[in-house]
């Protein structure tokens, strides 16, 4: 018998020990992965960030009789609609990447990531081109401030997503992911879907609900 301390004897036999002492994890992964939970919580905070911008938009809109104000005009067709379609398609290719790696198909994942990456870059290029055609700027009244701040911060998030996809793709090309080990791919994919959903809300708000 050992005299290892009666606290060790619990009803269910053992008490967990510190991870580095035994080499076994202190806490088995159950439920949602911790890193994914972190990403979901981060997205919750991002929702509140965009929520603040949207709240200001609708407040100002409600206070102005004419909307958009005189001299401001944006068209949903054709460029913004094309950009929207590109971003929505990129969400599907991103999801394909996740499904491929879940099936342990790393090459398929890398291909899908590459497509997603290119679609993201094309979206950003289209948005920048669109900015040059609008004819109003950040400082030309509250509409311009709102339009550029909302779409600009969304664009910054797309840019962040593109970086994330690039990192994940490079890691994928280095062979770092497998069916059982690809939490980074899942996290980036959740983030990318979020960015997509924000764009759909922006597109609806700025271009359709005029």
């Amino acid at each position: 018998m050992t005299a290892s301390g009666d606290v060790m004897v619990t009803g269910h036999g053992t008490v967990p020990t510190a991870a580095h002492e035994t080499g076994t994890p202190l806490h088995e992964e159950r439920g949602v992965n911790t890193a994914l939970l972190g990403m979901l919580l981060f997205i919750a905070s991002e929702v509140m960030f965009f929520g603040g911008l949207f709240a200001v938009y609708f407040n100002v809109r409600a206070a102005n009789r004419v909307w958009p104000p005189e001299g401001f005009h944006v068209e949903a067709l054709p460029i913004p609609l094309i950009a929207t379609i590109i971003l929505v398609v990129s969400s599907f290719t991103m999801q394909r990447a996740v499904w491929r790696i879940r099936a342990n198909d790393r090459t398929g994942m890398n291909r899908a990531l590459l497509v997603t990456l290119l679609l993201g870059i094309v979206f950003l290029a289209i948005q920048l081109y669109d900015y040059t055609t609008l004819g109003f700027g950040l400082s030309s009244g509250v509409y311009g401030s709102l339009f550029y701040t909302m779409t600009g911060f969304h664009g910054a998030h797309v840019f962040g997503g593109v970086i994330g996809i690039l990192v994940v793709m490079l890691r994928g090309m280095a062979g770092q992911f497998s069916a059982g080990h690809h939490v980074a791919v899942e996290a980036v994919s959740i983030y990318w879907h979020f960015v997509d959903v924000v764009w759909i809300a922006l597109f609806t708000t700025l271009y359709l609900l005029r």
Partner: protein
């Protein structure tokens, strides 16, 4: 005897201690960094407060040249620093240190993000304060109302914006880290309703941070665009709306109030039960009240804007009164916890009781301002200044000092001196009342906040002098505290693991804890696992208030398996226990433990005198029968209740124990428990009802 060959631990290579601290990802070191840096900012902001009070003591200009605008910078930086660089990071620091310990985790969920969160804080502080050297700090008040803040010239306001965005990012990341830690890293057995109340309050605070701070970030970005890129958000001439800033700011700003007070509520809820020798009265109600405060906190922001004429007064007045209900529930929880307890007035306890008194005043004068008609008279007077200092200084800061005296021995292994502590508390408490109570009267008399000067004919001088004296008393009270810390850190670190005979898991490890926190954890059957470990047998069943009969008998239940995450632990279980097993276990227990039949009931509801018999019988001098049932060799189901068998005799172990490092720490806790657990019947840990 099977032993496990452990991989030899890596030999630590020599690194300087400075490098060690700058690069640490250990939640305890990060916690200490948070606490230390916040305290430095507390001293800085306190010095600014002394300037303000010296200026206001008498009519006329004492310190500040009225044309320089420096006074505006000083009160802006005082408020901003106290809120964003003292209270929030200080409470985060205690959360960082204590939460992983209280839930039995080895660290936070994301240790490197934790370090990132911390290092943003001093950087944001440097940005905020650098304004003083770059042509003037921010001067639009900590609320920075537009359009004033949009027009304020100079880099100070922009540095303020950038600093707060950085600070807010740190808070968001910290909140994410706490939520992930609390949801993912709790020890087996610690269900949500067994979490210590400090953990509960940090959890709700983190949710508030997660949902409120990003809104501030968006407001700050819009203000930055207005100031620097010709934006029109808050500029009516461009089609914007100046009142909009107040809406967005206070949508963050009111949850922020609860972000600053909820962790202090948690601290008080740890300190009061330990020094009343009772469990917290109404654990469930307290948890519900905490959650309710968190939820309602998002529906009251416009009570800061009653006089703007752009909010619906009845709704926001109603929600504001509503949110005082859960706060009142907590007040009753605390008072009922102390009721008929065996009170020990340590300095930590004094600060906790002082918190109750001061926060009650702050809560009541807040309720006055919640009534819209009254608020029209009180808006922007010193009444508001009084209210916010009563709840923030009398509330949060008292909580911080209670936490400091309570957890200092855990963090540094030595208790703070009680004599100096009591001097500190006395000066601190009296100074607080003297500094802030006269402000009520000044506010009723119409003295506006944020003024630098007033007419001698206004009749405000007497109260202002009193208030200034109080402010200096508070400042002087910090001196014995600093001296106390200084001399205590030079003493031998002999506080022991559990100097307060406390209830929660952070006291079940060494002081200070090892880098991995725990070698072993006691079974968790209530929100007071360490109390159960030490006194469970005296209480007629080691299980706490919320234990099921099966748990009381020492068997895992569904809830255990929910929380159980140690695969070996489950493998060790021969079979799932049946009801019959449980009954057998009960029998075995009553024979072996000699502590009578298990009666499961709330630990604080037993009849007087009932625990007395087990108390004497279970004393270590009379070790109970050694024929504790099963051994691992027999492969029998282990009918061994967790902590009931007598120490030293009939050691029972399981096969898994041999492969585990011996739990010196926990044994030490046990030994301590044995020494203390030999009470004459009048020294029972809890007062009978």
């Amino acid at each position: 005897m099977a032993t496990t060959a452990l991989t030899p631990r890596a030999i630590p290579y020599p690194r300087s201690r400075v490098y060690e601290w700058l690069t640490t990802t250990d939640h305890k070191k990060i916690g200490v960094l948070y606490i230390t840096s916040s305290f430095i900012f507390f001293l800085l902001a306190g010095i600014l407060a002394l300037f303000i009070r010296s200026e206001l003591a008498l009519p006329g200009s004492q310190i500040f040249d009225p044309t320089s605008g420096l006074y505006n910078q000083v009160f802006t930086m005082h408020g901003t620093t106290m809120i964003f660089l003292f209270v929030m990071p200080m409470l985060t620091g205690f959360g960082n240190y204590i939460v992983p310990l209280q839930i039995g985790a080895a660290d936070m969920a994301f240790p490197r993000i934790n370090a990132l969160s911390f290092w943003m804080i001093p950087l944001s502080g440097i940005l905020l304060f650098s304004g003083f050297f770059l042509g003037g700090a921010a001067a639009a008040g900590w609320t920075s109302y537009a359009p004033l803040s949009a027009r304020e010239v100079g880099p100070g306001q922009d540095l303020w914006i950038v600093g707060l965005i950085l600070n807010g990012t740190s808070s968001i990341l910290g909140g994410i880290n706490f939520i992930a830690t609390i949801f993912k890293l709790r020890a087996p057995g610690m269900t949500l309703m067994r979490m210590p109340l400090f953990v509960w309050n940090v959890l709700v605070t983190s949710l508030l941070l997660l949902f409120a701070v990003p809104v501030l970030t968006s407001a700050l970005i819009m203000l930055f665009i207005d100031r620097n890129y010709g934006g029109g958000f808050f500029n009516p001439a461009a089609g914007g709306n100046a009142i909009l800033w107040q809406h967005v700011f206070w949508f963050f700003g009111h949850p922020e109030v609860y972000i600053m007070i909820l962790p202090a509520f948690g601290i008080i809820s740890e300190v009061l039960p330990v020094f009343s020798r009772k469990p917290l009265f109404g654990y469930r109600a307290f948890v519900m009240a905490t959650v309710a405060i968190g939820a309602l906190g998002f529906g009251v922001w416009a009570h800061h804007m009653f006089t703007t004429g752009s909010v619906y007064l009845p709704f926001f007045a109603f929600t504001t009164f509503l949110i005082s209900v859960p706060t009142g529930v907590k007040m009753f929880n605390w008072i009922a916890t102390m009721w008929r307890g065996r009170l020990q007035f340590t300095t930590a306890m004094l600060f906790a009781v002082g918190f109750l008194a001061t926060f009650l005043i702050g809560g009541l004068d807040g309720a006055f301002a919640a009534a819209a008609p009254v608020d029209f008279h009180l808006q922007d007077t010193y009444w508001v200044v009084s209210h916010l200092h009563y709840v923030l200084f009398g509330g949060s800061a008292f909580g911080v000092f209670a936490a400091t005296y309570y957890w200092f021995p855990k963090i540094f292994g030595v208790r703070l001196d009680e004599g100096f502590g009591k001097i500190h508390f006395t000066l601190h408490f009296l100074g607080t009342q003297l500094a802030f109570f006269p402000m009520h009267l000044l506010g009723l008399d119409g003295m506006p906040r944020r003024i630098q000067d007033y007419s001698p004919a206004a009749g405000w001088q007497d109260m202002n002098v009193l208030s200034t004296i109080g402010a200096f008393m508070i400042a002087i009270s910090i001196l014995p505290f600093l001296w106390n810390v200084f001399i205590s850190l030079r003493k031998p670190r002999d506080a022991g693991d559990d100097p307060w005979d406390a209830f929660t898991l952070e006291w079940a490890t060494t002081s200070p804890p090892p880098p991995h926190n725990f070698d072993a954890l006691p079974p968790i059957r209530s929100e007071r696992p360490l109390f159960d470990l030490k006194y469970g047998e005296l209480m007629g069943g080691h299980a706490g208030q919320h234990a099921t009969p099966a748990e009381a008998a020492g068997y895992p239940t569904e809830a255990d398996r929910e929380a159980q995450s140690d695969p070996q632990g489950r493998a060790d279980l021969p079979t799932n226990p049946t009801v019959a097993d449980v009954e057998a276990g009960t029998t075995a227990r009553s024979e072996a433990g000699g502590s009578g039949v298990i009666v499961v009931r709330p630990a604080d509801s037993e009849a007087p005198g009932q625990p007395a018999a087990p108390a004497t019988e279970a004393a270590p001098e009379t070790p109970a029968a050694p024929e504790t049932p099963a051994t691992p060799e027999t492969g029998e189901p282990k009918l061994v209740p967790p902590v009931t068998h007598a120490p030293g005799e009939g050691e029972v172990t399981s096969a898994a124990d041999a492969s585990r490092p011996s739990a010196e720490v926990t044994e030490r806790v046990r030994r301590q428990a044995r020494q203390k657990g030999t009470p004459p019947s009048d020294a029972r840990p809890e007062e009978p009802r």
